[in-house]
């Protein structure tokens, strides 16, 4: 039996590297759930312009816009987190990994804002 006591399934959460992993995993799973919906929506084009337009019209609703914004954040999070991982695994180790993480978070925000500006 494993040691009891606090948090034996999550031994060491709470530091930057763990949150980077968590964000990367959550965004990855969420994107995988979104992707089929995205392909389906675009596949409406196969039924002609009117069908695609019908979908785009529905997508003008504020709730959909909010979901799109969330999607951009998920995408940017997963991308920058992934780049950080590629750096950790392929580039010579540097103690500035946390700086890289911060840059990743910053870039995520920047992309999200850019999208927001074009949404608003």
């Amino acid at each position: 039996m494993r040691a009891a006591g606090a948090a034996s399934r999550w031994p060491a959460r709470g530091h930057a590297g763990f949150w980077a992993f968590a964000a990367h995993r959550v965004s990855g799973v969420a994107l995988t759930l979104f992707l089929p919906a995205h392909f389906w929506a675009l596949g409406q084009a196969i039924r002609g312009e009117a069908a695609l337009d019908g979908f785009l019209h529905w997508a003008e609703r504020p709730s959909v816009k909010a979901a799109e914004f969330a999607l951009v954040i998920l995408l940017a999070t997963h991308l920058t987190g992934g780049l950080r991982l590629l750096a950790l695994e392929f580039l010579p180790w540097s103690d500035r990994q946390k700086t890289v993480l911060a840059l990743a978070a910053g870039a995520t925000l920047a992309v999200a804002l850019a999208f927001l500006l074009s949404l608003v």
Binding site: G28, V29, W40, G43, A45, I46, L52, D53, G82, S118
Partner: protein, 112 residues
């Protein structure tokens, strides 16, 4: 899975990740530009219909995603559900095939 297969999956995941990084960056820039001033089917199709370059780009994008997502899901399934063995591998492969099929259908719809 053997060491060689596991290593192959790891390498495939990193390569597809690098391809996706480029595709996603290009995609995000395109979308941000495209949604300026509203979006319509006519606008989208005007850009994409008949463009071999865009078709090739998005077909590659779909393939990279259809490879990358199942490998990631496989890892998540192993760690959170404890799922192992041939059924897991088959399920992951099925997800990949489904994503590729749906994605390429969409590409065909936009570019035909």
């Amino acid at each position: 899975m053997s060491a060689r297969a596991e290593t192959g999956l790891w390498l495939t995941q990193r390569v597809s990740a690098a391809v996706l990084a480029l595709c996603v960056a290009a995609h995000l820039v395109t979308i941000v530009l495209a949604v300026q001033g509203g979006l319509s089917a006519a606008e989208i199709l005007g850009r994409t219909r008949g463009s071999a370059a865009w078709a090739a780009f998005y077909a590659t994008f779909v393939l990279a995603a259809a490879i990358h997502a199942p490998i990631g899901l496989r890892t998540v399934a192993r760690e959170t559900l404890g799922w192992r063995g041939p059924t897991l591998e088959a399920a992951a492969a099925a997800v990949g095939v489904a994503l590729a099929a749906m994605g390429w259908r969409a590409v065909a719809g936009l570019f035909a």
